[in-house]
């Protein structure tokens, strides 16, 4: 009998100008009720002006186990940061 409603991840935009960020998850039978439930559960005190709900099953996540190997290509490219470069004395507007 028990057929559990699918899990949804909830993202809330706290104010205009800020990005949506993950606030938690909930169960709902479909996207529309997920939105309603998210409003009731995560924005009872006007915590947001916009909500996204995403089926948790639709999210592909990188695994922390592969953290080192996965992100390693970025680790040795310090020259991507402006601080890598020495600015000669007196050069303006850099």
């Amino acid at each position: 009998m028990s057929q559990e409603w699918p899990l949804w991840e909830v993202f809330v935009r706290p104010r205009r100008g800020l990005a949506h960020s993950h606030v938690g998850s909930l169960h709902a039978p479909d996207a529309r009720s997920a939105l309603h439930n998210a409003r009731d559960l995560y924005t009872r005190r006007q915590e947001g002006v916009s909500i996204w709900v995403v089926p948790a099953a639709a999210i592909t996540a990188s695994s922390p186990d592969e953290k080192d190997a996965f992100f390693e290509p970025a680790a040795d490219k310090v020259y991507r940061h402006p601080t890598f470069y020495e600015v000669p004395e007196g050069a303006p507007h850099l």
């Binding site: 938690g24 039978p29 996540a61």
Partner: protein, 352 residues
């Protein structure tokens, strides 16, 4: 908005719980900024230990010892169940609240408890257990909820006493959980504690209003405090030398303070608060101990606590049978919503 039928207490509540929650949130951000220590070897246990000792959060997909996972599931589930069962004693008074304003407040509060239960079930689910399984365990009586909710709410003053003492004890317990080593639990607790502070204040305000009303109302408030004081003290669990889970949970930084430390902290906060109410705590041995810089007090009856946990409190059977009944009666709603969603999906596929 609903009429001004009370005057707010002049003195703010001492304690600064909101500040403590904000400090915990700042510490969480700061730890995230600091970054995790590097993983030096393939030894998973050693890496886990180094994260814990560096005050870094453990996240859902990190390796963790099986016992850590089990302990968290048990604790978070019990906490979630407590929020859900905790709706009953107060829900009993929604229809009988003395004004429309107080009714609106009480509805909002009970709705918050439902929300807290859901945040916590969601946090537990990140550990690889489903909410349905946990609800099953509760309904079968194989997982517990806080013993405090097995006491009855006999009159309106009890709603005040629950807010002040029960929510106050819960917050004292929960504020340190905002620093718990498991990320999803810590974040859920920060959200919950921010909301709980309204609960405690509304309870205190109910008692304050009664305490400054007629002599009969004042007596009602005192009677409620007399009945709820010791069960509230028992909420911190058995004394440290008899607590089975404490030491390991402290080592894992799931728990930050011992049961007895938290109980003492709660007593120290309540004494000045009850003085402002103009009421008393029902403990003839309550007195300031200059040497310890803390109040001496009478311990709750731990035998009674054990009896209530084992099922023999005043309302255990009522709470569980109510929960089972509403769960069964809600089954058609869950099934109908799932059937509707399935039908819509078929239609969308057909239309595409």
């Amino acid at each position: 908005m609903y009429g001004n039928d009370f005057s707010p207490p002049d003195e703010p509540l001492p304690g600064g719980l909101i500040e403590q929650v904000e400090a915990a949130e700042a510490a969480l951000r700061e730890a995230a900024e600091r970054g995790r220590p590097a993983r030096e070897t393939g030894d998973l246990q050693a890496y886990f230990d180094s994260l814990i000792s560096a005050d870094q959060k453990i996240e859902p997909r990190d390796w963790m010892p099986e016992a850590y996972r089990k302990t968290l599931i048990r604790q978070i589930a019990q906490h979630a169940h407590s929020e859900i069962i905790g709706m009953q004693p107060e829900g009993n008074w929604i229809t009988r609240a003395p004004s429309l304003k107080r009714k609106a407040i009480l509805i909002a509060k009970v709705q918050d408890e439902a929300g807290h239960g859901l945040y916590l079930y969601a946090a537990a689910e990140t550990l690889g257990v489903s909410r349905d399984e946990l609800v099953e365990l509760l309904l079968e009586g194989r997982q517990k909820y806080s013993s405090i909710f097995n006491y009855p709410t006999l009159n309106w003053a009890d709603v005040g006493a629950i807010g002040w003492l029960v929510d106050g004890a819960a917050i004292t317990n929960q504020v340190p959980l905002c620093r718990c080593s498991y990320g999803p639990y810590a974040r859920a607790m920060i959200r919950i504690c921010k909301e709980e502070s309204f609960h405690q204040r509304q309870g205190y305000e109910i008692l304050y209003t009664l305490a400054h009303g007629t002599p009969a109302q004042k007596e009602m408030a005192q009677d409620a405090i007399n009945r709820w004081w010791y069960p509230a003290l028992a909420m911190f669990g058995p004394p440290d030398d008899a607590s089975t889970h404490s030491a390991q949970s402290m080592a894992w930084k799931i728990k930050r303070f011992s049961n007895d430390e938290l109980r003492q902290r709660f007593v120290n906060m309540c004494v000045p608060q009850v003085e402002v109410l103009g009421l008393t705590l029902p403990d003839p041995n309550l007195r300031w101990n200059e040497e310890r810089q803390a109040y001496d007090f009478t311990q709750p009856d731990f035998d009674e606590l054990m009896r209530v946990i084992k099922g023999d409190g005043p309302c255990n059977r009522q709470r569980m049978s109510h929960r089972r009944r509403v769960h069964a009666e809600g089954a058609w709603v869950r099934e109908a919503a799932a059937a509707y969603a399935a039908k819509q999906r078929v239609r969308e596929v057909a239309a595409a």
